[in-house]
Symmetry: C2
Subunit: 254 residues, 2 copies
Amino acid sequence: MMSYELYYWPGLQGRGEFVRLALEEAGADYLDVARLPPSGRREDANPQGTEHGIDAMMSILQSQNEPCIPFAPPFLRDGTTLVAQTANILLYLGPRLGLAPADEALRHWIHGLQLTIADMVTEAHDTHHPIANTLYFEQQRDAARQRAADFIANRIPKFMHYFERVLEQNPAGCAHLAGAALSYADLSMFQLIDGLRYAFPRATARFAAQYPKLTALHEAVRARPRIAAYLASPRRIPHNESCVFRHYAELDAR
Amino acid sequence: MMSYELYYWPGLQGRGEFVRLALEEAGADYLDVARLPPSGRREDANPQGTEHGIDAMMSILQSQNEPCIPFAPPFLRDGTTLVAQTANILLYLGPRLGLAPADEALRHWIHGLQLTIADMVTEAHDTHHPIANTLYFEQQRDAARQRAADFIANRIPKFMHYFERVLEQNPAGCAHLAGAALSYADLSMFQLIDGLRYAFPRATARFAAQYPKLTALHEAVRARPRIAAYLASPRRIPHNESCVFRHYAELDAR
């Protein structure tokens, strides 16, 4: 069986991390292609005969003949199938990795939750880049301070109250966002909370008291054996200021 | 057979419009629930026994016992199934309305395109609201001017070159974004282009010359009989400044 090939920028967790957590929890065989040392040609020594390194990722993005060209990383190659967009990759992997239920309505419910998580990730990113990706943070600092203040005052509470309600109203119990079993959305919720706590430690200082069920979910995911092993491994890139979740003290609550 | 029930803010196209276009193209039986006159109770005279009007939408959003509570409109009810998030609704409706192919890889390709369209819609929105949804445009005008300038200079070209390439590299021909038949992503691409041209008429003045295949797709969708009839009907809400696509002359190119 071929390995899944994940393509994402090396050196940051970013949106690729949501996919990595699913692959790691499932114990799936995967290559984190752009983080591997470059291999010049397909003939070189690796079992799948694929190129490695960031050039391999760029050559897919710039391909003039690939029909399913991604707009941006992350994307996943599974044999001849290329899937782009984080939530779409998880939709594809979910049933294959045992991280999504068979029931169609429940799958759409989980996917909708994942898309809402993705929306919040974009908003977290935009706290440090509210004007343009092509400018440095320092070039949009005033707008960033305003946007981050609104994110802390209005958006974190709105999203987190919603997700806490989702846990409360899950008829199968509050251990999981949807249904009675772990899904990729639970893993992504761990990552979202983890990123928010890293980026905004003062604003999230009372998180456990405000959102006890989300806090329990975050801790339960972190304690899962494969996730714990992954987080302790060099495969887990530390949070840093190249990521969507960046800690700039001036953007955090006073 | 029950009608599909679409829930979205009345008075604007917004993200609900991407769903409306799919329902209209398919000639599907649907209720645009929040736009209907209020009906106080489920027992009132309508064949599905559901409540109408914006209160009906709010009561789902605020429900304390609904398991699949949406974060925000649009959402769709189909019998007992509730689906939220625009792209997720289209993923659900696609095969049911004949607007998505049977092939799984192609479905994920189309869904990935839809998510990239959704990303651009969010960026179009953020040109007039770069700081906070809770503030008026006039309260974030300076940041809006900066963000809109970047959107015009960098983001419209990046996204539109990408989508033009998708048409060029479609092995089944450049009439559709994916495969040989119309999909919901084609309809959404019409709406995205339509919204951008409304919001930024000067910045998109050369659109037809710059993106000939996208322009042909936009015109082909607009000329489809059911779409043309819909656009000429009172069901199509005109573009306006409550929408994600707003025309503020000061944000457009000089």
